[in-house]
C-alpha cells in the first residue's frame, strides 16, 4: 500500500520532469491566479482592519442631569460597566467636555472665548464591544441606560452610524462578489490550463488504457501532479506577493497609507497563507479531476 503510493508519486514526478513545458505552464498559471487571490485577500483584510479602526468612534455619550457627587458617579459608572455590551466607561467632567469641544472646533475655537468653561454638561462615554458597534447595539445600550435614569440626553452620531453601516455592508457585498468572482476565475483558468495539458497528453492516456491500465492507475499520477503543482504554485504565489508587497511598501507607500489615516498595513497572516496553499492544492486536484473526466473514458 505504502510502496504503491511511493510508486505513484514517483510516476507523477517523472511525468512532470518529462514534460516541463506542461508542468511550468500549469505552475505558472496557478501562481498568477493565486497571486491575484492573495492580493485581493490582503486588500480585504486591511480594509477590514481599517473599518474596525474607524468603528472605535462608535461611542455612546450619556449626558448627566446635573453635576453628580463622587458616589453617584461611581454608581452610574458601575451600572454602565455592568452592561454586557460595554467595554469601557469614561467619566467626562464639564471642564473636560469644554476642552474637547474647543479642540473639535479647531480654527473656530475663538468663538468660545467669552464663555464659561462649565456651560457644557458632564457625561459618560461608553465604548462598546465590536459586535455591538452598530445601530442595534447602540440603541440597546441607550435603552438600558434610560431605565436606570439620571441622564438628560444621549448622543451616538445617529446619521454617521447609518452611513458607516451601509459602507460596511457595501464593502462586505463588494468583497464577496469580487472574491467569489476571482475564486471562480482562478478555478476556471487553472482547470482550463490543466485541461490543455491533459489534452496534449491524450494519446499517452489512450495508450495506457490500451495496455491494461485501470482508470485509477492512469488518473492518480495526474491527481498527485495537480496537488504538487498546486502546492508549488501556492508557495510561489505567497512569495511573489510578499516580494511585491514589501517592494512597494518600502517604496514609500506605507507613509502614504499612514498619512491618509489608514492604520497599519499588514501582509496576509499565516493562517490565510495556509488557506492559499490549500486553495492551490484544491484547485490543482479539482482541475485535474475535471479534465481527466473529459479525456479518460475508461
Amino acid at each position: 500500500m505504502f510502496g504503491k503510493l511511493i510508486y505513484l508519486i514517483r510516476r507523477a514526478l517523472r511525468n512532470m520532469f518529462q514534460s516541463p513545458v506542461l508542468c511550468i505552464a500549469t505552475v505558472g498559471t496557478v501562481t498568477v491566479s493565486l497571486c491575484i487571490l492573495t492580493f485581493f485577500a490582503i486588500i480585504v483584510l486591511n480594509v477590514q482592519s481599517m473599518t474596525r479602526h474607524w468603528s472605535q468612534e462608535v461611542q455612546v455619550v450619556a449626558y448627566l442631569d446635573e453635576v453628580p457627587s463622587a458616589a453617584q458617579i461611581s454608581a452610574l459608572v458601575q451600572s454602565a460597566e455592568a452592561l454586557p455590551e460595554v467595554v469601557e466607561v469614561v467619566y467626562v467632567t464639564r471642564q473636560q467636555a469644554f476642552a474637547g469641544f474647543r479642540d473639535r472646533l479647531g480654527d473656530d475655537a475663538l468663538l468660545l472665548d467669552g464663555l464659561d468653561d462649565d456651560f457644557l454638561p458632564a457625561s459618560l462615554r461608553l465604548t462598546l464591544h465590536e459586535e455591538f458597534r452598530n445601530r442595534l447595539g447602540v440603541e440597546q445600550v441607550v435603552g438600558e441606560l434610560k431605565k436606570t435614569g439620571g441622564y438628560s440626553d444621549f448622543r451616538y452620531g445617529q446619521d454617521w452610524l447609518d452611513r458607516f453601516e451601509s459602507l460596511l455592508n457595501l464593502l462586505r457585498i463588494a468583497g464577496a462578489v469580487l472574491g467569489g468572482f476571482l475564486l471562480f476565475a482562478a478555478l476556471f483558468i487553472v482547470a482550463n490550463t490543466i485541461k490543455l495539458t491533459v489534452y496534449a497528453r491524450r494519446e499517452e492516456l489512450e495508450v495506457m488504457s490500451l495496455v491494461g491500465g485501470t482508470s485509477m492507475f492512469i488518473k492518480s499520477p495526474f491527481l498527485i501532479e495537480g496537488a504538487v503543482q498546486g502546492v508549488v504554485g501556492g508557495c510561489l504565489a505567497i512569495s511573489l506577493s510578499y516580494l511585491l508587497f514589501t517592494a512597494f511598501l518600502a517604496g514609500g507607500l506605507e507613509t502614504l497609507f499612514l498619512a491618509s489615516g489608514v492604520a497599519e498595513i499588514v501582509f496576509l497572516p499565516f493562517f490565510y497563507q495556509l488557506l492559499v496553499l490549500a486553495a492551490g492544492i484544491l484547485i490543482g486536484i479539482l482541475g485535474s479531476l475535471i479534465s481527466l473526466r473529459k479525456f479518460v473514458r475508461i
Binding site: 497528453r201 494519446e203 499517452e204 490500451l210 495496455v211 491494461g212 485501470t214 475508461i298
Partner: protein, 221 residues
C-alpha cells in the same frame, strides 16, 4: 478460446468494415489474418481488445462475453492480451525501458522483476542497447520491435499482432517470428495480421482471409 458469432461492424452508415464474421480459434492456435488493405483486419483485432464494440454479434474470449463487458472490466481483459498495434502506440515521453515496463507496472510487479524481464525481452528483439532512448530517437523498425517487446513481456494468453513486421527486414522478421513461435509453443494463442507472403510461405499456419469485411477463406495447412 476466441469465438466470434455473426460479427458486424460499421463505423458509419455508408460502409461496413466487417460483415457477418463467424470464427472459432482454439486455445494455442497460430492464425494469420490476411486480406487487402482496408479489408477489416485491424478492425477485427480492435474488437478483440475492445477498442471498438461490434455493431452486431457476440464475441467470447476465454469464456467471457466481451461484447457487453463493462468499461471497468476492460483493463483486466487487456492484461491477458499482448497487443502489437499497427501504429506502434508507444508513449513518446517515456524511455524504451519504461514503455516496455508499463504492462508489468500496471500489474503491480516488483521493480526487480520488472528490470530483469524488460532487459530480457529487449535483448530478444535486439534492442538492449537502446534502453534509455526515447521512441522518437529510434528508427521505424526499432520502434516496431519495441512495440513487439511490450506485447511479449508478459507471456500473454493471446497475442494480437497487427502488421508486426511491416518495417522490418527479412533477417529481423525471422527472429521475431521465432519469438512468436516460442510464445505460441508456451501456450499463447497468436493472431497475426500481415501482408507478408514470404513469412506465410516459410511458416505455413492457419490463414484467415478477409475481403471487404467478409471472411472469404479459412485455410489450414
Amino acid at each position: 478460446m476466441i469465438q466470434l458469432y455473426n460479427i458486424c461492424k460499421s463505423y458509419s452508415k455508408d460502409g461496413t468494415a466487417l460483415e457477418d464474421v463467424n470464427l472459432k480459434i482454439p486455445k494455442g492456435d497460430f492464425v494469420y489474418i490476411t486480406g487487402p488493405s482496408g479489408a477489416g483486419k485491424s478492425t477485427l483485432l480492435k474488437l478483440l481488445y475492445v477498442a471498438e464494440r461490434p455493431t452486431r454479434g457476440q464475441i467470447l474470449i476465454n469464456g467471457q462475453n466481451v461484447t457487453r463487458m463493462s468499461v471497468a472490466k476492460i483493463p483486466f481483459l487487456r492484461r491477458q492480451l499482448g497487443i502489437v498495434f499497427q501504429d506502434f502506440k508507444l508513449i513518446n515521453s517515456r524511455t524504451i525501458f519504461e514503455n516496455v515496463a508499463f504492462p508489468l507496472e500496471v500489474r503491480g510487479r516488483k521493480r526487480f522483476e520488472v528490470g530483469k524481464k524488460v532487459y530480457q525481452v529487449l535483448k530478444n528483439v535486439g534492442l538492449e542497447h537502446k534502453l534509455t532512448k526515447f521512441p522518437l530517437q529510434l528508427s521505424g523498425g526499432e520502434q516496431q520491435r519495441v512495440a513487439i517487446a511490450r506485447a511479449l513481456v508478459m507471456e500473454p494468453l493471446v497475442l494480437l499482432a497487427d502488421e508486426p513486421t511491416g518495417n522490418l527486414d527479412l533477417e529481423v522478421t525471422l527472429e521475431i517470428m521465432d519469438l512468436f513461435k516460442g510464445a505460441n509453443a508456451r501456450g499463447t494463442t497468436v493472431l497475426l495480421a500481415t501482408h507478408d507472403r514470404e513469412m506465410m510461405r516459410r511458416f505455413p499456419r492457419r490463414q484467415i482471409c478477409l475481403e471487404n469485411g467478409r471472411l472469404t477463406e479459412d485455410w489450414i495447412p
